[in-house]
């Protein structure tokens, strides 16, 4: 296996034939190629679920983590190497159920990470239980009884949490999704893409034909998601949240909100640690030939506020 720039691995992709994840995978591979990124400059971090397998199918660094924890793992990678492109892939259960706390926290930070939700309204890999995006009262194939719990709206949640780029896309419209992924990666700050992803095996309600009939593009209606001045934020945010409620006969996709006026977490760290951008944690030297860079003299200098000189002969 030589280094490849088409972002494909030679593994068998073991999703069910017809699964929406294929669309997401293709869109990601194309977006990365078009962005001209080198595979080693990219880290794909995923949770657990059908969606969690995504990194194995992409020829770039892949970190397939724990259920719900892709965001914090990705956060560590990004903090240590802010120059890398870090993308999170997770299921709806993964990111909005068990991982909802991290999802909210990332929004608060505006760390420059792109989060892609594989939103299929079910727990795919555990055989079709209801996920946090499945509405109450409906009964998908594998449920013994209609769903007891109600759905959370991923876009509204992201907007309330502080994400500065919030979009929705449809997995089966690969071209459109690809463009949104590119925009999200280029955006500086936390970006969220909620991808409507048909699960052919367990979700017999929200199917590809069902979506095809309903999905329309925000940009086709002249939606302007961009915050050009911080003062616009409250209104644009509220409007985006209102728009995000639209669901039923017509389902908008596209970029709902984008605020490039906020500083990122990396910016704030750099304002405190001047060397942060040029020498981030992973790239600093810590030894020279095995000898610690911080030797006895340096230790005393760094922690001089804890060092006491003993007064002799008083």
């Amino acid at each position: 296996m030589g280094l490849r720039l088409d972002y494909k691995t030679d593994l068998w992709v073991d999703w069910c034939p017809g699964c929406g994840n294929f669309g997401i995978l293709t869109a990601m591979q194309k977006a990365l190629a078009e962005l001209g990124l080198k595979p080693w400059e990219v880290v794909i971090v995923s949770g657990i679920g059908c969606s969690g397998k995504t990194p194995h199918f992409i020829y770039a660094n892949g970190v397939h983590t724990l259920h719900g924890r892709a965001i914090p793992f990705a956060t560590g990678v990004k903090l240590a190497r802010p120059d890398l492109t870090v993308i999170v892939d997770g299921g709806d259960g993964d990111l909005l159920g068990i991982g909802a706390g991290h999802f909210v926290a990332l929004g608060r930070r505006n760390l420059d990470i792109t989060v892609i939700i594989h939103d299929n309204q079910v727990y795919g890999l555990t055989k079709g239980q209801a996920s946090p995006t499945l509405p109450a009262g409906v009964k998908t194939k594998a449920l013994p009884k209609p769903n007891l719990q109600d759905a959370v709206n991923p876009l509204a949640l992201a907007l309330s949490s502080g994400y500065t780029f919030v979009a929705r896309a449809f997995a089966m419209d690969v071209e459109h999704l690809k463009e949104i992924i590119k925009a999200a990666v280029k955006h500086r700050g936390s970006a969220l893409i909620d991808v409507l992803q048909p699960c052919v095996t367990y979700n017999d309600l929200y199917t590809t034909p069902w979506y095809r009939k309903r999905v329309y593009k925000l940009e086709d209606e002249g939606w302007d998601p961009v915050v050009r001045d911080p003062s616009e934020r409250p209104v644009k945010l509220a409007r985006a949240i209102e728009k995000a409620q639209e669901w039923g006969d017509r389902i908008p996709v596209g970029i709902f909100y984008q605020d490039p006026t906020r500083d990122t977490l990396e910016d704030r760290i750099a304002s405190r640690i001047p060397s942060y951008r040029s020498l981030p944690p992973a790239l600093q030297r810590i030894d020279s030939n095995g000898t610690p860079i911080v030797g006895e003299r340096e230790l005393k200098a760094i922690f001089r506020d804890r060092l006491i000189r003993v007064k002799k002969h008083h």
Partner: protein, 637 residues
């Protein structure tokens, strides 16, 4: 005298922590060795808190010890809490203005203590007041009461400084600091240096405190210097005045830590605070880099982010205590499965559950060793004192990378919160060992290549020209999921075998276990901060003709089975005594698990307070001479 011991008490928030720092600094400036520990409630303001300080002219005291030379109370509750700890000659400093206060008038006092105080005093026929308690201490225990008129002293201060009374009151805690300093013969200038350290750049505070010291010194009259210490013996030129939290932070910096993630929790958070305050590694004007200290939304995120960072090659760690560690367990297994070098600094406190969150204990050894489903290698090292903690912090970072696994560094609240004068540690022989790196890897790279043995060459996320995969699923050499049984058999074995490699490289004797030989009358077996009390108790008993030794367990995984068994077998079975600050004698049971040797005698304590030297030595005597098999300790308020 060679050593002075004092206990200073007062309400939480009234400056006891400051007192510990100021006094330790002041004695250090004079060349003394100081050990000071602190007890406090899980409360921000109002509940009782105290510090216990040992100042020694010759060597560093290692543990709390009974029989203070001075007990100084800021308030009535301090007197009620500690008067029974007085012994012959103890000077009991208290506020004469509080003499008539009874326990019932102190709402912050816990019911149980209030009841005990009443009982003690009424049994002896003393009134249930501060006066009564002081008199009891004098009559029954031989203490010397030293009433001070706090209000008068503060009045005098407000006069001298020309400040209103309510402002003068803010300096109140300095009264007992000064009393102690004055009695032991410290000069005003020494204390002043302590204040300057504690309040850098805040001149008015330093001046106010210094003025108050003078007022108190005047008030002490003849007693000033009455407990004067011997001149210190050949002090070195410098000391670090540091807590256990501090030394770990310092060790981590030396060890090359570049990312520390944390979620606030007692008693771990101060370590991260120390790191953050020194995030820019500036030495003499030149920058050696920076440590990113990152507060996460919870402990799951803390460990996950640390692992993520570790994969990029940044040395990464997190620090927590029991409740937080519980939450880290799942990700720790991921690190084990993915051979990720991450360090968890684990500060034990009183459990289970929220337990006694500001008290100490050694209940988390099982948790460190066994938490987490499935089998994966980890190294667990426990530090016994500040010096060990410093070097262990460096070692933990090295081992994590050398063996590509999580390392758990165990400490406890007793160590974390005790402040000592530490000789600047020698870094001679301290190395950074990054293990096997795949610096020149290319497209054919396989992260989990086991062809050269259980440890695979490690490339870093973001390394040019290399791509790799990680997964918590069982995987093949590329890091791709594999459920093949043969691959599984070999991968699992290879991971577990890394511990055998570590075992073959890290010496059992001296590094994984240390025997402090002092004689064969008894052998104490302990770990962590039992060390200090054990060594001092042994010394104490030597004076009484009992010659004992101490086996200090340092690394629990890989366990030094061979050496430990050898040492244990060299003692009479009925003279081997486990000493631990827990209920189960966890370390002793681990000895049995690893060697089959069952330590049958034990001294245990689980009140959340540290083991004191005196109670330990008495318990040893009861076992060695009295035939007891189990002793439960409970000294300390």
């Amino acid at each position: 005298m060679e050593e002075a011991r004092f206990l200073l008490g007062g309400p939480q928030g009234a400056g006891l922590e400051t007192a510990a720092q100021v006094l330790t600094t002041a004695y250090a400036v004079r060349g003394y060795r100081v050990y000071s520990m602190r007890e406090y409630f899980s409360n921000i303001k109002g509940r009782h808190s105290y510090i216990l300080v040992r100042v020694n002219a010759r060597r560093l005291p290692r543990a709390p010890r009974e029989g203070p030379d001075i007990i100084a109370g800021l308030d009535a509750e301090s007197v009620f809490t500690h008067f029974t700890e007085a012994r012959e000659g103890t000077i009991l400093v208290y506020d004469s203005g509080q003499a008539g206060v009874s326990p019932e008038r102190i709402p912050s006092m816990e019911r149980e203590l209030r009841k005990r105080v009443r009982e003690t005093l009424s049994r002896g026929g003393y009134p249930p007041t501060v006066e009564g308690a002081v008199t009891y201490a004098r009559d029954v225990l031989g203490a010397r009461p030293l009433p001070l008129d706090f209000r008068g002293i503060l009045g005098e201060l407000s006069k001298r400084l020309g400040i209103p009374a309510f402002k003068a009151k803010r300096f109140a805690n300095t009264i007992i600091i000064a009393a102690v300093a004055g009695l032991t013969g410290l000069e005003v200038g020494d204390l002043r240096e302590g204040f300057e350290r504690r309040f850098p750049g805040r001149r008015d505070v330093v001046e106010g405190n210094t003025a108050l010291v003078e007022v108190v010194y005047d008030a002490l009259g003849d007693l000033r210097g009455s407990l004067a210490l011997d001149e210190p013996l050949e002090p070195p030129g410098e000391y670090f005045v540091v807590s256990g939290n501090d030394v770990v932070a310092m060790g981590k910096v030396v060890g090359g830590l570049r990312i520390q993630t944390y979620y606030p929790i007692t008693p771990a958070a101060d370590e991260s605070f120390m790191l953050e305050a020194h995030e820019n590694l500036d030495a003499d004007g030149s920058s050696l880099g920076g440590v990113v200290v990152f507060q996460t939304e919870d402990e799951i995120a803390a460990i996950s982010a640390a692992i993520g960072a570790a994969l990029t090659g940044a040395r990464a760690a997190t620090a927590t205590s029991g409740p937080g560690f519980d939450l880290m367990v799942e990700a720790l297994g991921w690190a084990g499965m993915n051979e990720a070098p991450v360090v968890v600094t684990y500060y034990q406190r009183g459990g289970p559950s929220t337990g006694l969150p500001t008290r100490g204990g050694q209940q988390d050894l099982y948790s460190a060793l066994f938490s987490g489903h499935g089998e994966y290698p980890r190294i667990v090292v426990a530090s016994g004192d500040h010096e060990e903690a410093f070097y262990d912090a460096v070692k933990a970072l090295n081992w994590a990378e050398r063996y590509q696994l999580p390392v758990i560094h165990l400490l406890d609240k007793f160590l974390a919160n005790s402040i000592v004068t530490l000789e600047p540690p020698s870094l001679e022989g301290v190395r950074i060992d990054r293990g096997l790196l795949a610096g020149s890897a290319g497209p054919e790279y396989r992260r989990f290549d086991k062809s050269g043995g259980p440890i695979s060459p490690r490339a870093l996320l973001g390394q040019e020209g290399v791509v790799m995969w990680y997964t918590g699923d069982e995987h093949d050499e590329y890091g791709h999921i594999s459920e093949d049984p043969v691959n599984r058999r070999e991968m699992h074995r290879a991971r577990m075998r890394k511990l055998e490699v570590a075992a073959s490289e890290i010496p059992e004797e001296g590094e994984r276990a240390v025997l402090y030989e002092g004689g064969s009358d008894f052998l104490l077996v302990g770990w962590g901060s039992v060390k200090g009390a054990a060594l001092e108790a042994i010394e104490l008993l030597r004076g009484e003709g009992l010659r004992g030794s101490y086996l200090h367990l340092r690394v629990f995984e890989p366990f030094p089975s061979r050496y430990v068994l050898e040492v244990l077998r060299s003692f009479e079975e009925d003279r081997v005594i486990a000493v631990e600050a827990n209920y189960l004698a966890q370390a002793a049971r681990l000895v049995a698990m690893n060697t089959g040797y069952r330590v049958a005698r034990r001294i245990l304590k689980w009140t959340g307070r540290p083991i004191y030297v005196g109670e330990l030595s008495r318990a040893i005597v009861r076992i060695v001479e009295g035939g007891s098999v189990e002793e439960v300790l409970d000294y300390g308020a």
